[in-house]
């Protein structure tokens, strides 16, 4: 059922990065929870020669709540998010995404970095993180760099990560006062289902106007992405139903969904518009 592969289980980050650096022409993949990768190997979509297990690398764990920024390790699991009162306070959208994520077993093993690196257009943690302006720390044996999550995806299942790099941390600035941060997962059932349309919204209000708007969509384009056209409609404005409609329409017209077995492109567009309108309206009504 599974093609044979080698498995390294390093216990330090340096060890993991070294293992990834010495590919020597082989396909070497990091594996965290394996909830994507094992499925892909079983379906023969991935055929790694060697895998580097991250399960013992504790440097990839831990959440830090600094005065300015929040930072979580790449190996943070979906259940870790749900157990954190600080995350619940600072990033409710992430909690909403985590709450409806897979089933308990998947939540206990699936990791945040794995969700990002899987590159799935339906990755549930990514829309919330995009609307939080998240930044990734990418480390290799030779260098460490940071990259905005917004710049990470290049195309369907293509990203800016080099094969020898790991996502070691994910961080984002604390939300300004008077902000709302929400996520809606629309799926064909409530538990354990692939997202049909995902919409995350972060809105900040200052002096009666929308000071900052972030809207990110899942499952309606080759990659999870922000809809900056819609954000631009809202930023700097005192929101009205007409403006919100305009933003919702902008979100719907700029997304590029496809027909698949879960839903048609037309339905996805329809729900992008409805949910963008709903989430922005709810956020504005609460804040203004």
């Amino acid at each position: 059922m599974y093609a044979p592969f080698e498995l390294d289980i390093p216990t330090t980050l340096d060890g993991a990065l070294a293992a990834l650096a010495n590919g020597g022409g082989e396909t070497v993949l990091p594996i965290a929870g394996g909830t994507n990768l094992i499925v892909d190997i079983r379906a023969k979509r991935e055929r790694p020669d060697r895998m580097v297990g991250l399960g013992e690398v504790d440097e990839l764990l831990g959440m830090e709540f600094g005065p300015e920024r929040i930072s979580i390790g790449g190996r943070t699991t979906v259940s870790d998010l749900l157990r954190s009162p600080e995350i619940a306070h600072e990033a409710p959208s992430l909690i909403e995404a985590a709450r409806l994520f897979g089933g308990l077993m998947v939540r206990n093993t699936g990791t945040v970095a794995g969700n990002i690196a899987s590159g799935s257009p339906a990755a549930d943690l990514v829309p919330p993180l995009l609307t939080l302006d998240a930044e990734l720390t990418l480390a290799s044996a030779s260098a460490t760099r940071t990259l905005a999550l917004d710049d990470y995806y290049l195309g369907y299942k293509q990203d800016a990560r080099r094969p020898d790099e790991l996502i070691t941390r994910i961080s984002w600035p604390r939300l300004p006062e008077n902000s709302a941060n929400t996520f809606y997962k629309l799926a064909r059932r409530k538990g354990d289902a692939i997202t049909v349309t995902g919409v995350a919204v972060t809105l900040s209000v200052a002096d009666g106007t929308c000071s900052r708007a972030r809207i990110a969509l899942a499952s309606v384009a080759p990659v999870v992405r922000r809809v900056k056209e819609a954000e631009a409609v809202l930023e700097g404005q005192a929101l009205t139903p007409a403006l919100i409609d305009e933003a919702a329409e902008a979100a719907a017209s700029t997304c590029t969904p496809i027909d698949d077995i879960r839903a048609s492109a037309g339905y996805r567009r329809h729900t992008v518009e409805a949910l963008t309108r709903r989430l922005v309206t709810q956020a504005w009504d609460r804040l203004a």
């Binding site: 089933g103 059932r189 409530k190 538990g191 354990d192 077995i261």
Partner: protein, 773 residues
């Protein structure tokens, strides 16, 4: 949550000690502690592992099949193709343990030249390990030349449509002609006509098909397998070309059946390779194999044309049903017969025309599934009742009340069901069970729906069904029950135990039940058609009563009274109302043993034997009896996204008599889930016959997060033809759930989605179409 309602009139003079109590099922401790072996847990030394290679397009000619590389692979013991099997076929008809004539439904075991459905088996491989078998499968070269297929029943009926097999694509046709439909429509104030569509459904049992076969020292092929029907040993023997007594099927506790393990699954493949290699062979389907390895629920297109008076009395009904039979016959002729009989539902319709047709396509073949055609009929007739009520602006429950079939009245086939018909009581209780309505909130609209049903229990009477059970009492007063019945998870064997100990006056911890062995346990027939309790329960009761009569006679002699003064309870034998005249059961049994009094009894229960329904009018007795009940739900619908949430789910069923209320509730809970998935989220999608939802990541059953608390209201009319007046609940528990949900959705949004599953997208489309018009 469960409450039980009994008719006060039926309570008198009935006192049960074991029956009717929510006792811990005899199979529960082993399952809960993980000690119960399922068929897949059995292994043998020197065992081979099997794999089935399947066609990857649905309609094709097999032009080349080269297994030489696979045969040459080290570790491969055997590769079988159609060339090795002469013209061997396997029957796909209903298993007849009664010698009734069967339909001619044989299917080639392996593809010889024509592939008719996606997943049809091409070759069987046995190897030293599963990995080697998988590798061998990759080494088999085959070439399929596509042939135009037909994937839609309406297309298949058109002249010039590609033929799946035979002379045309019509697999079976049935009809009912009753009363004067034209006159009935002429009397109607209103005629309502609608077409409803129901989908494929996958059984999705937890335990995929699995088995182990070996040939023993007597040349008997033994098969340990997960099945609902051990009496497939006969068609297996026929397929192998060996006498019937050279195949022995041993079941195990089954991890779910729902009709999906009613047909042959892995048995013939296992038997062939065990015989061919002389070694034990094991075959376990992956989930993906299981999705293409057994038949599905028939999709139906049902057109209902109903004439009603202004007051809501039905004057005439004309029904046309088309079922997708898929690529082979299997149980399709019987499924449409059930649909035919169920067409008017639990309503009195004296002017009735029904026409039902099963049509061959190159889709996956369809066969038995909980509800068996009657469920698809219910999906239509109950939505139609709501459409009529809305058109007439009559309360939906009131409309139903005007038309309910009542106890003693003739049903669609002219037959008068022998038991009580408590549809109205069930409907009222289920509807009231919804409690206070939940308010709508912005785009979230709430609505309610009700559906009532009629569902048979027991097999078609022309099959002349019988069932056997053996009950014996050991010398220490413990009880043994033997019966071939398979337990597919519903507590079938525990119920037999509960019945036997009730009659013999012992407690449930004193019984052991041996079941599911076609060579050793008395043959009990299939665990299908909601018949196990009815048939085998009656057989066990008869056997226990026969034994009890002998014990009571000896006890009466001991106490100097007549046998009817003797009672037995809680392991004691005593004279009624004379507490001093008592002795332990064990003493009585020892006395009997010493005197050679027979301490066991083998009984056969015979269902009523009937003939086929009249082919022209459809009149006659189709089944022994029918169960009635209702399901009510409250839903919320998001009118912007189309998402449906079931907020409340209330079931009320007349089960006749509960043997074990906890087991009954289990069936009702499961039925609510099974029906909810059918109504809302489960979808087997085929593209040109190719399954595009081949696993649980695409095929979505409701999870715990999707299910509301299901309230179970159990009514006991004690009028059924099962043991102690029991009816059946296995299939009935599911039948009305989906139309109740469909009706609730329509109530919430004011427009009906005529096709299940009611996906969010279909809801949005229906709303958009309404707004556009």
């Amino acid at each position: 949550m469960t409450h039980t309602d009994m008719d006060p009139g039926t309570l008198a003079n009935v006192q049960f000690r074991q029956v009717g109590k929510p006792l811990t099922r005899t199979d529960a401790p082993g399952k809960v502690t993980g000690r119960t072996p399922y068929a897949g847990d059995y292994v043998m030394p020197n065992m081979l592992h099997m794999r089935v290679l399947r066609a990857d397009i649905a309609s094709a000619r097999l032009v080349r099949l080269d297994v030489s590389k696979a045969r040459a692979l080290t570790g491969v013991a055997c590769v079988l193709t159609a060339d090795d099997l002469a013209d061997r076929t396997a029957a796909t008809d209903i298993p007849g343990q009664t010698g009734q004539k069967r339909l001619d439904t044989d299917q080639p075991i392996l593809v010889r030249d024509r592939v008719r459905y996606f997943g049809e088996p091409l070759a069987l491989i046995a190897a030293e390990t599963r990995d080697i078998a998988d590798h061998a499968a990759e080494l088999i070269e085959f070439e399929l030349e596509p042939i135009p297929g037909v994937y839609d029943t309406l297309e298949a009926l058109k002249p010039g449509a590609p033929l799946v097999y035979g002379r045309d694509n019509i697999v079976a046709e049935r009809k009912i002609r009753k009363g004067d439909v034209e006159a009935g429509f002429a009397r109607a104030d209103l005629i309502v006509e609608n077409t409803y569509r129901t989908p494929f459904q996958e059984h999705a049992f937890l335990e995929p098909e699995v088995g182990l076969a070996w040939v023993d020292e007597n040349d008997v092929v033994n098969i340990r397998v997960s099945t609902q029907v051990i009496e497939h040993f006969r068609p297996i023997a026929d397929a192998l070309g060996v006498p019937h007594n050279k195949v022995r099927v041993r079941g195990a506790l089954v991890g779910g059946g729902f009709g999906g393990k009613e047909d042959l699954t892995v048995e013939v493949y296992l038997a062939l390779l065990a015989k061919q290699t002389g070694r034990p062979v094991r075959l376990e389907y992956s989930r993906e194999d299981s999705f293409v390895g057994h038949g599905k629920r028939h999709p139906f297109i049902l057109t209902y044309r109903t004439g009603v008076t202004k007051e809501g009395k039905i004057t005439a009904l004309d029904v046309n049903m088309i079922a997708d039979a898929g690529a082979y016959v299997f149980l399709s002729p019987y499924v449409i017969l059930y649909a035919l009989v169920a067409a008017p539902g639990p309503y009195r319709v004296d002017n009735l025309n029904v026409f039902a047709k099963a049509v061959a396509t190159n889709n996956m073949y369809t066969s038995a599934f909980r509800g068996f055609g009657a469920l698809q009929a219910c999906a239509a007739y109950e939505q139609q009742m709501d459409e009529i009520a809305n058109t007439l602006s009559i309360d939906r429950l009131k409309l139903r009340r005007r038309n309910f079939l009542k106890t003693g009245e003739p049903m669609s086939t002219g037959f008068v069901p022998p038991s009580a018909i408590w549809t109205e009581q069930c409907a009222e209780k289920a509807w009231a069970g919804l409690g206070e309505p939940t308010a709508s909130d912005g785009p979230i609209r709430t609505g309610r729906g009700l559906a009532c049903y009629q569902q048979s229990y027991g097999r078609l009477t022309f099959l002349h069904d019988t069932s056997e059970a053996w009950v014996g009492v050991e010398m220490d007063g413990t009880v043994v029950v033997r019966s071939g019945v398979t337990d597919i998870g519903a507590g079938q064997i525990s119920a037999l135990g509960q019945i036997a100990v009730e009659v013999l006056g012992v407690t449930l911890d004193n019984v052991v039940i041996y079941n599911s062995d076609s060579a050793v346990t008395p043959l009990a027939g299939t665990t299908t058609a909601t018949r196990a309790l009815y048939m085998t329960g009656n057989a066990a009761k008869q056997a226990a009563e026969g034994l009890r009569a002998r014990l009571a006679e000896r006890a009466a002699q001991e106490f100097g009274v007549t046998p009817d003064e003797i009672d037995m309870a809680f392991n004691e034998v005593f004279v009624i109302d004379r507490p001093e005249k008592t002795m332990p059961l064990v003493d009585l049994v020892r006395t009997c043993a010493a005197e050679g009094i027979h301490r066991s009894e083998l009984a056969i229960f015979r269902a009523p034997f009937g003939d086929f329904l009249d082919p022209e009018t459809g009149q006659g007795q189709a089944h022994p009896d029918y169960a009635y009940g209702a399901h009510a739900v409250e839903v919320s619908v998001d009118v912007e996204t189309g998402e449906v949430e079931v907020l409340k789910s209330v079931a009320a069923h007349d089960v006749g008599q509960c043997i074990n209320p906890a087991a009954v509730e289990g069936q009702i809970q499961g039925g609510a889930q099974n029906g909810q998935g059918y109504a809302l989220s489960e979808e087997m999608l085929y593209e040109e016959g190719r399954l595009v939802t081949p696993s649980f990541s695409e095929y979505l059953m409701p999870t715990a997060m999707d299910m509301p608390n299901v309230e179970c209201i159990i009514l006991e009319s004690r009028s059924g033809v099962g043991p102690f007046g029991a009816k059946g609940i296995g299939e009935p528990a599911m039948t009305a759930v989906a139309p109740a949900i469909a009706n609730a959705v329509a109530d919430a949004i004011g427009v009906r989605v005529f096709e299940m599953p009611i996906t969010p997208e279909r809801v949005v489309t229906a709303l958009q179409q309404r707004d556009a018009s």
